[in-house]
Symmetry: C2
Subunit: 251 residues, 2 copies
DNA sequence: CGCCTAGTTGACCAGGTTCAACAACGGTGG
DNA sequence: CCACCGTTGTTGAACCTGGTCAACTAGGCG
């Protein structure tokens, strides 16, 4: 059933029909999470993984003084708590931004799968690595870019990621986040986000109303953001090139 | 020979004598890299992995305007370019901070190993995940903490990481980074790092001279940094608890 | 002794924060 | 259908953390 998962894993390694089938038919439960509610919380020790099949979410940490830093956004196909497969507990939380549909698969089941199909293990591992690449870019964004560029960069990233999974149309996509969320993601104050966003709109780069973003001037938006999408690139079948024996049985 | 690698992987999964031996006897070359020279550069497509056996390094990206953001620091036992095992090219660079001894193992060889010993694959995967946890904490650091807390946090992190591999003595450890490096890692200006560092020293939290840091008041340093080391924790044998069949053959 | 790198200092400036109030919008109930 | 309410977005003004520019000092090394 988790077709979105198959599509995600295929980005990273070529899968045989058997492998696709195994993933699609993995027994799972479905859960619905209300907006603003945690899907997993810091300190949790999940024994299953939660995959977002519909809706948006964010990874975040809360500081001692109650302030929040959003670490990244999750979109359909993303796994909330893959970390807990190999580490005891979550070091951060994941909250739904709008109503989320979640598919749940047990660690036990996942271990069975990756033990039997090593190529699938590599695909999951690749997913972890791509997340790490997104984090690295976020570090650059927060460390060295202006407010204006930070917000522009965040928009570029969401845009490309949603485009890859077919969730954009004519430069328009859904982005159900408030300016407060945007502030917590970019390390800025709410007030400054508001003013900067107005400037970005006034400059004719985007529109952003009712959780709908439209990119009006892709070139200029990417330019002011210093956005270079290579870090988001999947590794289409790298394994194929470097290690043919991982390709046995691929249809 | 790469004993440091065995020790690192053992943090994440229990290894049989055979597995330890396989890792230790993996054919490899050794290379020395001069201070300030890249071990791998953005855009490179390495066909081998580079493991730091001695010395310090940093991951970084360069912006269009030439400014640099340091993403994380590498210490003995860390792998510079594990990413390139599964992705085509490096999305960032790694540079030596002081003279570095590097062990080089081919992708081919590594694939052979992890195909035959799935538990080792999980251990490498865990290493990727722990790096991701370090990145997440860096995002919080850059996004939401003051200059003073950022620097304190960075020092806490290096301190704990070096302690784990036995490279501290009585709260003192080597940290071969300049104030310019510190600025590029914390997203601050060189001048402000200098002044903030003076304040941290004046407050009696640390001394920092000639690349040697001494933590004078661990409690207070961790408090001002809001440092919570759980994100650094290895997952001692999580797999053992959740999936016994991965423990076959462990001595 | 001279050079180069790393560290330090002062003065001025600006990007971004904080506080406080208000406006717009969508949803709800009477 | 409208009044009410909570959430989200917007604005102004004062303030401050941290940036920039520019010069100078301290060490290490040949």
């Amino acid at each position: 059933m988790p077709v979105s998962l198959v599509r995600k894993l295929e980005q990273f390694a070529p899968l045989s029909d058997t492998e696709k089938q195994i993933v699609q038919e993995a027994p799972m439960r479905v859960r619905h999470v209300e907006p603003q509610h945690d899907i997993v919380s810091e300190g949790d020790r999940p024994v299953e993984i939660s995959l977002i099949t519909d809706g948006f979410a964010c990874r975040y940490k809360i500081l001692d003084d109650g302030r929040r830093q959003i670490i990244s956004f999750l979109i359909p196909g993303d796994i909330c708590d893959l970390r807990a497969l190999l580490f005891r507990q979550m070091d951060h939380s994941v909250a739904a931004l709008n109503g989320c549909q979640i598919a749940i698969i047990s660690h036990q089941r996942l271990f069975d799968i990756i033990e039997k199909y090593p190529r699938l293990a590599l695909a999951f591992w690749s997913d972890s690595m791509r997340n790490a690449a997104i984090y690295r870019e976020a570090i650059v964004n927060l460390g060295r870019r202006s407010a204006y560029a930070r917000i522009a960069h965040l928009l570029c990233e969401q845009w490309i990621r949603l485009e890859v999974i077919g969730m954009t149309r004519d430069g328009t996509f859904e982005l159900p986040i408030t300016q407060t969320d945007l502030a917590d993601a970019t390390g800025l104050s709410l007030v400054h986000v508001n003013r900067t966003l107005q400037k970005i709109r006034a400059d004719g780069l985007i529109t952003f109303r009712h959780n709908l973003v439209t990119v009006l001037d892709p070139q200029r938006l990417q330019a002011v953001a210093q956005f270079n999408p290579t870090y988001l690139a999947a590794a289409p079948h790298t394994v194929a090139a470097t290690h043919p024996e991982f390709l046995r049985d691929v249809g």
